[in-house]
């Protein structure tokens, strides 16, 4: 099958300071792809370029064989930003409904998707509350539910589990795996937590705007001859400098 996402020779600078340099990556359909790296490595910029929200200085981004940015393609991409971008005056349900109508979902589909997404993130009981009254974790969960609302083929989640308690984090990861395995969704997750990276099918380590190493977690461990995954990161980073 064709790869879901192809990034070729992409670079980007802000104020002449390079943030990404010659990034190449291929994400196969149905893969759970992890982008790991320290804060400021350029992970967010990279995923924003895949969504088409950030212009590339050079290189191309292809999503489902279409060149990005592409308005119609956004229907197939569920995006969860690093910061919770929610309307706090509105209730959780109204937030979900608003985004559902931006994707032009039909009324009955809307209802069904809202119920599904809310139950997935354990927010069903809190849907009628205003977001202003939500805790940090609840907001994070609502953001995730919004990313899932239009049943996209591709999910791009920027640090989805920050501020979420371990129990819910586990259930979200189980759900991500289920979405991948049963629904065949392609998922990109950025994280700086190593145990999460280890659950991905394929991991790319980003540092200073470059992909310093990539492969499946097992491959990487074997390559660097280490037992624990976080050592891979230390070694790969060390080799660079």
């Amino acid at each position: 099958m064709d790869p879901a996402i192809r990034v070729e020779q992409v670079s980007k600078s802000f104020n002449k300071k390079p943030v990404l340099r010659d990034i190449d990556l291929t994400i196969e359909t149905g893969q759970l792809y992890g982008l790991i790296g320290p804060s400021g490595a350029g992970k967010t910029t990279l995923v924003k370029m895949i969504v088409g929200m950030e212009k590339t200085d050079g290189g191309t981004v292809m999503v489902l064989d279409e060149k990005m940015p592409n308005l119609a393609m956004l229907q197939n991409i569920g995006y969860m930003a690093q910061s919770d971008a929610l309307y706090t005056e509105l209730t959780g349900e109204e937030n979900l409904k608003f985004f559902a109508s931006l994707y032009k979902l039909k009324k009955d589909v809307q209802k069904q998707r809202i119920a599904y997404a809310a139950s997935l993130v354990n927010l069903t009981g809190d849907l009628k509350k205003r977001v202003a009254a939500y805790s940090g974790g609840m907001k994070r969960r609502l953001s995730l539910a919004i990313a899932l609302i239009q049943d996209p083929k591709i999910l791009i989640l920027d640090e989805p589990t920050v501020g979420i308690d371990p129990e819910l984090k586990l259930s979200i990861w189980n759900e991500l795996l289920r979405l991948k395995n049963e629904d065949g969704k392609t998922i990109i997750v950025t994280t700086h937590v190593m145990d999460e990276a280890e659950r991905c099918d394929f991991v790319a380590m980003v540092r200073d705007g470059r992909i310093i190493t990539s492969g499946s977690p097992q491959e990487l461990k074997a390559m660097y001859g280490v037992e624990r995954f976080d050592e891979v990161f230390l070694q790969a980073g060390g080799k660079q400098s």
Binding site: M53, Q75, L86, F98, S101, L102, K104
Partner: protein
């Protein structure tokens, strides 16, 4: 349909924010009412101290609504001590007047009254001495008519059309600007840009969403000024509403445009002295003809210049739609320009 979803959301947010609603609908009425009472206050009769003057002149001064206080001796200090507006003395038939002049308007009015009264009294005396002069000296009353307004016209009548327009402009500017700014700072605008919505759809939804509130505000302000404050309206109320609606559209598009250059609410407020206050100067409160040529040229880049001109023409002079076409056209051009710039400003987020 996406535009509609956005409009619905803006509505929900506004309706839940009671204070912003109050600011938009009640604050302009409050300020207009206050201005109305400020400008319609009665003028106080000036106080004049006199030393050694004859009775007939004092009587005449009192008749001319001057409060006269007699002194045996008085100096400049008496004026400040007794808070007199002026002091009049007679010295060997020569009259002298000392004015306090802490308020030039009061001083000038008093001077005029005293001069007129003294002249009249002097005339009467002359006639008494020489009745033959009476024939050519009897005053003929002058017949005065007015092109605009009437003898009861006060400054507020001329000022109020401009005020109505300005408050519509100001409150729409602030609320729409901060509305879109909040969407930027909370990241929801960026989040919107990851959905298949077009930039034009965002701009038009904002114009429509806040526009509806602006329409309601405009109608309330206009109806209140005309029916409650009884502001002079010679022309058609529909023309007044039309001008204000166009002005609101300009304010709306300018507010959202400038909000893209502000990083916070604080920075948005910094646009008020730059983009809003000068509008008042060029709205026609101060006569433009007397300004330097370069100032007159600057005035023409301010939307309030056209709106003020049109509002004054319709409300005070009773102009028809044909008379204000130029002004309306200018407002349309401003709105179109700002809306286009808005769509470009959103390019910062996404090129599509």
């Amino acid at each position: 349909m996406r535009v509609w979803a956005l409009i619905k959301r803006i509505f929900r947010q506004m309706l839940r924010d009671k204070r912003t609603l109050a600011l938009m609908f009640v604050a302009p009425l409050l300020i207009l009412t206050l201005m109305y009472f400020l400008f319609n206050g009665n003028t106080i009769d000036p106080k004049l101290g006199v030393v050694g003057m004859d009775k007939s002149l004092i009587k005449a001064l009192q008749k001319a609504d001057i409060v006269v206080k007699q002194y045996d001796t008085a100096s400049v200090d008496t004026i400040t001590e007794d808070n007199l507006d002026g002091l009049m003395r007679e010295n060997n038939g020569d009259l002298s007047l000392i004015l306090q002049n802490d308020d030039p308007t009061v001083a000038r009015a008093l001077q005029l009254k005293v001069n007129q009264t003294a002249a009249a009294v002097f005339q009467v005396k002359l006639i008494k001495q020489n009745p033959a002069l009476a024939g050519n000296m009897t005053q003929k009353s002058m017949d005065t008519t007015y092109v605009y307004g009437n003898k009861d016209t006060v400054f507020f009548d001329v000022l109020s059309p401009i005020l109505v327009g300005f408050f519509v402009f100001f409150f729409v500017f602030i609320i729409s600007g901060i509305g879109l700014l909040r969407e930027r700072t909370t990241g929801t605008l960026e989040r919107l840009m990851s959905t298949p919505i077009r930039r034009t759809e965002v701009v038009f939804a904002y114009l429509a969403g806040y526009g509806i509130f602006a329409v309601i505000q405009t109608i309330i302000v206009v109806l209140y000024s005309i029916h409650v404050l009884d502001i002079v309206l010679v022309g058609s109320i529909f023309h007044v509403i039309l001008i204000n609606l166009l002005l609101a559209l300009v304010a709306l598009s300018l507010g959202t445009l400038l909000s893209s250059f502000a990083a916070s609410e604080f920075q948005m407020l910094q646009f008020i002295p730059i983009a809003v206050v000068p509008q008042v100067f060029f709205a026609g409160i101060f006569p433009l003809e007397g300004m330097a040529d370069w100032l007159q040229a600057i005035a023409k880049v301010f939307p309030m210049y056209y709106a003020g001109d049109a509002l004054k023409a319709v409300m005070y002079k009773g102009a028809s739609l044909g008379d204000i076409t130029g002004d309306l056209l200018a407002l349309v051009v401003f709105a179109a320009l700002f809306i286009t710039l808005n769509i470009f400003a959103l390019k910062k987020y996404r090129t599509l």
